[in-house]
Amino acid sequence: MHEEKFTDEVLMAYADGELDAKTRREVEDAIGRDTALAERVELFMKTRALLAGTFGTAKVSVPDDLEARVRQMAGGAEMEESASGAEVLPFRQRSAPRQQGFAQRHALPIAASLALVAGGLLGYMAAGQPERAGGIEIAGLADDRIVEALNVSPSGETRQLGEDARFEAIATYRDGAGTLCREFEVSARGTSHVAVACQEIDAWQLRFAASQVDVNGDFVPASSLEALDAFLMATRAGAPLSAEDESAALSTLR
């Protein structure tokens, strides 16, 4: 008999309607002959029905103010689109005049600062210019003190890199390719960068860096974190390693 070739995964995929037509027919034939297989499929159907029935149909409350805030954001986003003349999707909604104030106060400045960060970042990366944070060179990770900190600092630790410079380890994770990466911040004399370095050929390579300080010298963590998010999403960053896993991963570097 061939029945044992159907793993739990395949039987579950059958229950979930995720199989291709050919495999589906094979499973159908098999469960007609083998009640144990049929029961296994039923178990997967039951768990789904139970969860869907319990959580899916229960009404989830949404506080009025939450919905109102989201509606307001939508208005702001549309104002930004029409103001910049950006291409709009067909189902764009005309914004109500009362939402203009919100857009002017919030949406436009956020978009503007994002563009500055993205522009600045691309600018220096393309030009190959080292990014300096008050004497600490981040771009090439040329500074031995940063490399040392990346090798040894557990996430959450802050260490001084000399008189005015500070390093903070934020998190360690593996990206979609399984490469070990660390997110960190370096600040020195009024400038601050959030950055990601990954291990390549036994050395730390800078993969991402964004300034957290705008042209006016104001601290703008939100926009650099937006850029960081986009980077993490694009590189399929995994969840942060636990303290133990991080320690084990870092110990292999020495």
């Binding site: 997967f44 229960a58 919905e67 989201v70 950006a86 999707l89 764009r92 909604q93 979609g176």
Partner: protein
Amino acid sequence: MKSTFADEIVDLLPNLRRYAFVLSRSLDVADDLVQQTCEKAFASRSSYAQGTNLSAWLIRIMRNTWIDRVRRDRTRGESVDIVDRPDAIFTDGAHDTETHLMLGNVASALQELPADQREIIMMICVEELSYKEAAAALGIPIGTVMSRLARARTTLAGKLDLN
């Protein structure tokens, strides 16, 4: 009348709130997470491919937002145990003892699963993402989605005596 992008997102707010609550187990953090997710959704709307599953796209954004939050902020707000307080987000059944008990039992079994299994079982069985959409949201291969999901469901069935 055609529904707008904003309408579609507002329609999904209950789903987002439910998912945020399962991720964070905190009401305050959940609502914060929903709001941040919507902000990012409106800001990066151009990256949403029309005609694809909006819910899957939003869950992916939420998950990344959550991971980033865990990265930078080890305090996660005050935990609310869904087992004790299912009525915290679920309005139905607050007055219906049987539904309340059922919700409590299933929620309790769910909370005993490892976080990665809890997350995937919610994505597929409750939020109705396809395996492919879940794999994209989690940044893992479909094979891993399937093995993790099968493990989660057999464990859950054992805990709830569905065998």
